[in-house]
Subunit: 87 residues, 2 copies
């Protein structure tokens, strides 16, 4: 049963775009992965099981509102990781 959470792609996309400008105490790959995981845990998942479902869900996640919600989750997660880095 291969499934995919398209929210992973949406968060990764925005995280890659904004990582360098994010206010975090450390810009290493471990902290980036922590921000990625924490952001995904704060957002509602969008699991799909095929390509068609994936396209519809991705379209949903490209709205201004959806991107703002994701960016807020990333910013909040960056604050937490900055305050409690894992290394």
């Amino acid at each position: 049963m291969p499934l995919h959470n398209v929210m992973e792609d949406a968060v990764k996309d925005l995280l890659e775009k904004h990582w360098e400008n994010l206010s975090v105490s450390c810009h290493c790959e471990l902290c980036k992965a922590d921000v990625y995981a924490l952001s995904l845990n704060r957002l509602k998942p969008h699991y799909v099981r095929n390509q068609a479902g994936s396209m519809y869900a991705k379209a949903d996640l490209m709205t201004t509102q959806a991107r703002a919600t994701i960016l807020t989750a990333i910013t909040e997660s960056a604050k937490v990781v900055s305050a409690y880095p894992h290394h």
Copy 2:
């Protein structure tokens, strides 16, 4: 940034155990994947980025309460997929 949602394992485990006895209109693999995806979309994700995080999160998901919550999500999702099968 390889991450993993340990909730996927917990849902898959319970779904495999209870699939044959679940009240669904069709027991095919497509309907099973739909119930799997829908259940994951109803549950809070638990993304981790390493083995240690994975062990802690899995322990959390093995409590009676967590398993009851997951089984409820599976049962509710099975009802939806039975009412609106994709084939």
